[in-house]
């Protein structure tokens, strides 16, 4: 794959528990800047648990080691991880009534950049990014995810990705619930982030996002493990054959 120093994010032998149940059973990844990894697998295989646990969700217990830009971030809190350059696009973003998209984004940007972002600069940047994602400017004044459609929520996640420009983004089923037009916009956003050297891990159930985003590496994830890794052709093979043919090989790669 890549040379050691080109890796921006890696995890080694990550295990994840929800209460007493082990849902991720030893996963290792190494992602270079601008590199797109797709993790594909059936529902309930533990993909979302992996993404949430990597970001530090308190409901999960994680063992293993996570490195970001050469720094061990395993024990950091979610906000510390975000400030170090990690990002998670949520499958089901929660609503926070009373907090506008703009004020939330400005607070997040201030936290991640470690300095107050001047209002004018912020507005300009926000307007440009929203335009890229074909979002109505009035959107910035709405309350965060409150009464948003599925497509609006996903666009907002991508807007945050582009504004916060992390080193590594985990995208959890960002393609689900989108019509074809929205899917194209979201895919364009993901490609733009990759061009800006963000390392990407796309967690997805379907091939269809990969028609618009070309992954460098595809991992097949079944029952808490990566059972096979390969190039983009692996995604096409999954599309035609499903996951069943991989199930008997359940084991570590």
């Amino acid at each position: 794959m890549k040379e050691q120093q080109a890796v921006v994010f890696s995890c080694q032998d990550v295990h994840v528990w929800v209460a007493d149940r082990e849902v991720v059973k030893g996963v290792s990844l190494a992602v270079a800047p601008g590199e797109v990894h797709a993790i594909m697998g059936p529902n309930g295989s533990g993909k979302s648990s992996l993404a949430n646990a990597l970001m530090g969700h308190p409901a999960y217990t994680l063992e293993g080691r996570i490195e970001l830009a050469g720094q061990d971030v395993t024990a950091l809190s979610p906000d510390q991880k975000a400030r170090a350059g990690m990002f998670l696009a949520f499958q089901y973003p929660v609503a926070i009534p009373g907090v506008s998209v703009a004020s939330f984004l400005r607070a997040a940007l201030t936290a991640v950049r470690g300095r107050e972002v001047p209002v004018r600069e912020f507005r300009r940047e926000l307007a440009a990014r929203m335009d890229e994602l074909e979002m109505d400017p009035a959107f910035a004044g709405r309350y965060l995810n409150d009464g948003f459609s599925g497509g609006e929520k996903k666009r907002l996640e991508i807007l945050q990705l582009l504004m916060l420009r992390p080193r590594l983004a985990l995208l959890d089923e960002t393609d689900s619930g989108l019509d074809i037009d929205a899917l194209k916009v979201v895919a364009a956003g993901i490609n733009a982030a990759a061009r800006e050297e963000v390392g990407m891990v796309l967690i997805t159930h379907y091939q269809r996002l990969l028609d618009h985003v070309q992954p460098h590496v595809v991992h097949v994830f079944v029952n808490g493990r990566i059972v096979r890794s390969g190039g983009p052709e692996l995604a096409l093979e999954l599309e035609s054959r499903g996951y069943d043919w991989l199930a008997p090989q359940d084991g570590r790669v």
Binding site: D79, A82, G98, V99, A108, A111
Partner: protein, 472 residues
């Protein structure tokens, strides 16, 4: 939020900012305890007309005859020792008309609370009450020229006796409840506001209430009359030093909105957590009048307060928008009442409460639609936010509807400040403290946006203080 420049100086707490106390060097202080002698003394000192003196004595009899309420927080109520309270304190010999007239130590208190500055910046009139009486009072000349009366209640009675007598205790009779009777017996201070027909008071009038002495009882009495087509916004704020003993604040506020008038009454209650705040507030709205209670309860040990609106004229509209913040050991028992007495009247009650740690918030509300009030509409919405496992909230909504063609909406929601919301914000780099504050501020946003800018900033700052150390 951290990005709010006005909030940058967060870090002081109640004790430093509001909880300081002055030495008790008073001009005059009644002996503690409640009796006809004390009532007589108050009335004589104020040189009141006979009818008011008689009124007070009768009210005291009512107070003594009435049992404590058998509902609400009866345990805390029963701890009030009425014999240990001082019912009247005259802090200074005369009222100031400029801040220079106010005794230096009292002026320093109000300086620390930012009142003179607020007056200069954005108020049409100010009244500052220290213990039992108003020590400073001013109103913009322009308002006086328009015939607007804004006085402390004692002066109001002296200078406009006929007007006061016409309305005093007509909305809340002394017999209404035990604490209304107590207030009527020993009332002192508060505001008297009269706005003549068609006059609009564009910027707010403010009253500020300060209790300084220990085991003190403050019983201000406020009466606001907006004559036909008049418009007024009145704001009150309150603080007190922190003592280990309890003090009592028991106000009576009566609003009268004549035909087509509009009154908004905003309260930011931030008493120290040793204060019992037992207040009766009620408004009458005549034909096409609008009355709005905007009621924020942050402080006090126990608050029991249910701003009410009697919708007496056709198409009258009433709103109660309230938030309550119950921190550790506090009980905010608050709510609203809307009584529809005329056809096509409407009311809207929005109650938001936050309970943190051992804090307890109760919503107690009543909506009545009486016979003949056909075509009326009412919407009640109660949202409670719980922070921590021990936090508690209860809702007691009552509805009595005597007509068929009315529209009734009721919504109640309880949520817990959730891990998922926190995780979402934290995954964007926002610290846990700031994330909690954002969620809470978002929750009260519908309330805050109804406040004038300066109060919105102040309220956000208070909430930030209340939320400090709420983690873990």
């Amino acid at each position: 939020m951290a990005s709010h420049p006005q909030l940058a100086d967060i870090g002081s707490d109640y004790a430093q900012r509001y909880g300081f106390r002055d030495p008790e060097q008073y001009f005059l202080k009644a002996p503690k305890g409640l009796s006809h002698e004390v009532v007589e003394m108050i009335s004589r000192l104020k040189g009141e007309p006979e009818w008011m003196r008689t009124f007070r004595h009768r009210a005291l009899d009512t107070f003594l005859a009435r049992p404590l309420p058998s509902w609400g927080n009866t345990e805390l109520l029963s701890q009030i020792d009425f014999d240990q309270i001082t019912y009247f304190v005259r802090a200074t010999e005369r009222q100031g008309e400029s801040w220079d007239d106010v005794p230096a130590d009292i002026k320093r208190t109000f300086d620390r609370l930012g009142i003179p500055e607020a007056e200069r910046k954005f108020l049409a009139g100010v009244s500052a009450q220290y213990e039992s009486e108003v020590v400073y009072h001013s109103v913009k000349e322009e308002l006086t020229r328009q015939g607007v009366i804004f006085l402390d209640m004692d002066s109001g009675l002296r200078e406009h006796e006929a007007l006061v007598r016409q309305y005093f205790a007509t909305v809340i009779p002394a017999e209404d409840n035990k604490f209304a009777a107590l207030n009527t017996a020993v009332w002192s201070g508060g505001s008297f506001v009269y706005v003549p027909p068609g006059v609009e008071v564009a910027i707010p009038l403010q009253a500020y209430f300060r209790i300084n002495a220990e085991r003190m009882g403050q019983f201000e009495r406020t009466l606001i009359v907006a004559d036909e087509g008049a418009k007024v916004h009145y704001i009150e704020g309150c603080t007190a030093p922190v003592y280990s003993t309890h003090s009592l604040h028991s106000a009576v506020v009566e609003l009268i909105a004549r035909r087509g008038a509009r009154i908004r009454y905003t309260t930011i209650q931030n008493w120290a957590t040793n204060i019992y705040n037992l207040v009766t507030k009620r408004a009458v709205a005549y034909e096409d009048a609008v009355v709005e209670w905007v009621d924020g309860n942050i402080g006090s040990r126990l608050t029991m307060k249910y701003p009410s609106i009697l919708l007496k004229g056709e198409r009258a509209h009433g709103e109660v928008l309230s938030i309550a913040f119950a921190g550790p050991g506090q009980h905010q028992d608050a709510g609203a009442k809307a009584i529809h007495l005329a056809p096509n009247t409407s009311s809207k009650i929005t109650s938001k409460s936050i309970s943190r740690d051992t804090g307890r918030a109760t919503y107690r509300g009543m909506v009545k639609v009486r016979h003949g009030a056909h075509g009326s509409r009412t919407a009640v919405q109660c949202d409670a936010l719980l922070i921590g496992e021990k936090a508690r909230t209860d809702t007691y909504p009552t509805m009595e509807i005597a007509e068929d063609d009315v529209r009734i909406e009721h919504e109640a929601r309880v949520s817990r400040l959730g891990d998922e919301q926190l995780f979402y914000l934290r995954s964007r780099g926002i610290s846990e403290d700031q994330a909690r504050l954002m969620i809470v501020n978002g929750f009260i946003e519908p309330f805050v946006k109804e406040l004038p800018m300066e109060y919105a900033v102040e309220l956000n700052r208070l909430i930030a203080l209340e939320m400090e150390g709420s983690v873990g």
